[in-house]
Amino acid sequence: MLAYTIYLSFAGALVLAVLPRGWARSARVFALLVALCGLAVALAACVSAGAQGSVAVADVAWIPAMGIHYSLAADGISRVLVLLTGLAAVAGILFSWNIGEKQGDRANEFFAFFLALIGGVYGVFLSVDLFLLFVFYEIAIVPKYFLIAIWGSTRREYGAMKLALYSFAGSAMVLIGLLAAYATAGSHTMNLHELAQYPFPVSFQMWAFPLVFTGFAILAGMWPFHTWAPTGHVAAPTAASMLLAGVVMKLGAYGCLRVAMTLFPHGLDPWGFSFLGMDSWRTVFALFAVIGIIYGAAVALVQNDFKFVIGYSSVSHMGLVLLGLLTLTQIGLDGAVLQMFSHGILAGLLFATVGRIVYERTHTRDLGLLSKLQLGKAMPFAAWLFVIAGMASMGLPGFSGFVAEVQVLVGAWQAFPWFAIVAGIGIVVGVAYTWHAMQRAFFSDLPTIDANGAAVPIPEYEPVTLAEKTGVVLLAGTSLLIGLYPRLLLDAIAPAVQALPHALLTGGRP
């Protein structure tokens, strides 16, 4: 059943691509319907599968001569991420409801690219065959370029090209690793589980693991390869930044776990020597993740563009995901997957607030300018929304972020105590930048009188639309629900993590 998420999205994209130009309004309704169907399918699958292990979805011989199958399956991790994709897709369309209001918006094309991207993302999360996974992974790259380059804002062509090249370079690294694994195993199969059974020589894994891991981690925004993320997020239209931070960066983290770590678990083993305190690829990447957490948070603190604040906060939060993955403990991995979900929801909410609700009305994202607009009074809805989303994102108990971050930190404490401390400091800086941005944008105490002593009138903006409110309720509600009752997802995630290859969970230990 889950396979229909993919088919629906691609079919929707195709229909929208050939729809006549004038039908902009119907285009967005149609896109919303397609996304809702996808979400419904994902939700139904999540509920019906419950805590089951991997459920096969489809398996058809695709290129028999090379042992490549069209095979899809979903375990708990996949189901959770598919659900996230469904939510992000619906919310993204709700927050781009204004596209198509004006002539020349090219709404059909926008939603066609949007659904194609979504279809690719669903595909990655469901593929078991590595060739298939890679195909979907690359399908997701091209629409991102066009979404940003055509409908974006600040330096959009630069941001779009940078993002496309980074993604493609990363996927080239992944492809090298996959081809080498395929040729080395020599068994004419690309099935993930079958290939993972093959005892690749440790020396092979030692170079293939960092290559493939880095290739995927580029898309997950790992420091020092994160620079595409802030520029891309800032340039992108709201819906695209929501998807980019919400699900596309998750593709990278998912690939790290599902492909790099599962296929080459011995790449995580100690090298047998120590260089500058680094004794394995695991420590190296964990260090990168921690630097990402701190660096992203610190840079977010000094940004003047509201969207850059959120962009760098994504880098910081994705660092937590990578750190959780590299702990190789049950709790750390659980936390990492939950953090993927949580950050997907919350980053979407933050980008929607900043990019759609505030920017579309004030036409500026400069925090200095925003601080003079008395937004707290002019746009109380946006102000309170940002307070809630910001709190949730910095890890306030009661929201999904808290559960995820605590688990990651506990896992990290077991594996790398020092890194856990530093990551904890990063979270504190996270409180600071959220607070700082919130205060400047909404609750500035700049004098509200002009030079003559007259009170500056509170600017009037269009009221918040129904589509925006619905999207907000959807995302914030989900985060709250998961925060209050995390077992909804953890019950699916934990068995799937347990079912990961034994070599992975014991990896990194001699």
Partner: protein, 490 residues
């Protein structure tokens, strides 16, 4: 050599060369019809008649090959007919037919009959060269192919660029043909035979001599020119830029496929023996040419502002990828190269078709002429999107599958163990770079606002051809096994 003249069964010869014969007859027929019957008719009628005849000739030859993919080889294997050869020949014929379809609206010449006749002659050369397994036949067929293309490149008589394109192509081509013939003569001197199997058998027992190295370098120079591999690539940008669009498409497609077919045959012939497997001069040469082409082609394309020149540099890069497969010289890698060459050629013909249409309306092939194409003609823009993304190797288009298949074959080759992984990694890295320049074109097509806004007119036959090619690129990408009856995969 004697085998060529003596002991040949003429019925076999007729059987095996019937497709070529059909093309020859049609090319004469085109001349008769155009210069005789239709002398007083309008230009449009003459063009249509010539193209229809050309297409029907190709179709007849395809039909024959489909029915008889296998035939007994003649003259001790000077010409062979196997399913793989038939696949290459059918591919070349399809490409020729597509070029005819795309020239129905061409305005570059007032002599459509001669144009069609020479295209058919060139195609004959391509078919022959694909089937040839004898140095002499290879040389003669390559010359037939090259001479036709030299003439065709100069076919736009009123355009100085066309003359420039042809002159450069001719000077480089003549030079490298001479070098190749020189190399062939050494090979003959060393082994006493012109038959590839005989050469392989003879070389298997001999040590590598300096003379053999000289011979191989000379042969590599000749074929490197045909496939536009570094350092014999210099003609390509100018010729692609100046030649009439259908001719450029033919040079980039059919001629490429034929030349790679020769390379596959030659490599199989030279080094079928184990002594030549590891690190032989020939392989080393090919690997260096390949590495140079990949780097130079991709870097050169980055700075181009003319889309044709951009495609020329990208062609150099693609030749580099394919040379990796030649250097790996296993049966799979040979088949993978053929698959790559055919699908690459198909995509390139499509891209040149779009360029020709844009050029006709804007008067130039600069990047800016493509601005806003998606608003002026969404279908044409969609086709261009598919072609360029396929060239960049984005799934689910056929370009990705061809690359995957080729690189997997290279990595699996036992003789590529030293250099395979490094060069495949380099090729994949370079193809990440290549996305940049393909996106430069697509950015104009989809993102940049148009200078002119009125719709771009396209004749229905051109549009139908381009959409058919685009559809084939998509379908072959989604179902790569479609061709597996002809070209074995894996």
């Amino acid at each position: 050599m004697n085998a060529l003249a003596n002991g040949m069964s003429y019925s076999d010869l007729f059987f095996i060369t019937l497709p070529e014969t059909i093309l020859e007859v049609i090319s004469l027929l085109v001349l008769i019809v155009d210069l005789g019957l239709l002398r007083k008719s309008s230009q449009a009628t003459r063009t249509t008649a010539a193209c229809v005849l050309g297409v029907s000739g190709s179709v007849a030859a395809i039909a024959w090959l489909l029915a008889h993919p296998q035939a007994p080889s003649i003259a001790d294997g000077a010409l062979v007919a196997t399913p793989l050869v038939a696949a290459a020949q059918i591919g070349i014929l399809i490409l020729t037919a597509l070029v005819f379809f795309l020239s129905t609206n061409a305005k570059f010449s007032r002599n459509p009959g001669e144009f069609a006749a020479i295209v058919l002659l060139g195609t004959t050369g391509m078919l022959l060269v694909t089937a040839a397994r004898d140095l002499l036949v290879i040389f003669v067929a390559l010359e037939l192919l090259s001479l036709s293309l030299y003439v065709l490149a100069a076919f736009a008589k009123s355009s100085a660029q066309s003359a420039d394109a042809a002159l450069k192509y001719y000077l480089f081509g003549g030079m490298s043909a001479a070098l190749m013939l020189f190399g062939f003569s050494y090979l003959y001197g060393l082994t006493g035979t012109t038959n590839l199997n005989g050469i392989a058998a003879s070389l298997a027992t001999e040590a590598v001599t300096p003379l053999l190295v000289v011979a191989l370098v000379l042969v590599a120079a000749g074929l490197g020119f045909k496939v536009a591999a570094v350092p014999f690539h210099l003609w390509a940008p100018d010729t692609y830029h100046g030649a009439p669009a259908p001719v450029a498409a033919l040079i980039a497609s059919g001629s490429k496929v034929a030349s790679f077919a020769v390379l596959i045959a030659l490599t199989g012939g030279f080094i079928a023996s184990p002594a030549y497997l590891q690190g032989s001069t020939w392989i080393l040469l090919l690997v260096w040419m390949s590495a140079g082409s990949i780097v130079l082609g991709n870097l050169g394309a980055l700075v181009q502002t003319s889309v044709r020149r951009l495609l020329a540099y990208s062609a150099i890069a693609h030749a580099g990828y394919m040379l990796l497969g030649i250097a790996a010289h296993t049966e799979q890698s040979g088949a993978a190269v053929l698959y790559y060459a055919l699908t690459y050629a198909l995509t390139t013909v499509g891209a040149f078709g779009v360029i020709a249409i844009v050029e006709r309306s804007a008067g130039s092939d600069r990047l800016d002429s493509f601005a806003g194409l998606s608003r002026r003609n969404p279908l044409l823009a969609g086709a261009m999107l598919i072609f360029l993304l396929s060239l960049a190797g984005i799934p689910p288009l056929v370009g990705f599958w061809a690359k995957f298949n080729l690189f997997a074959a290279v990595l699996r080759s036992p003789s590529a163990s030293h250099w395979g992984l490094g060069l495949v990694a380099m090729a994949l890295g370079a193809s990440a770079v290549s996305l940049y320049y393909y996106l430069q074109v697509l950015k104009r097509v989809y993102v940049v606002k148009p200078i002119e806004t009125e719709p771009l007119p396209v004749s229905s036959i051109e549009l139908a051809t381009l959409l058919a090619i685009a559809l084939a690129v998509v379908l072959l990408g989604i179902f790569p096994s479609l061709l597996s009856a002809w070209i074995p995969l894996g």
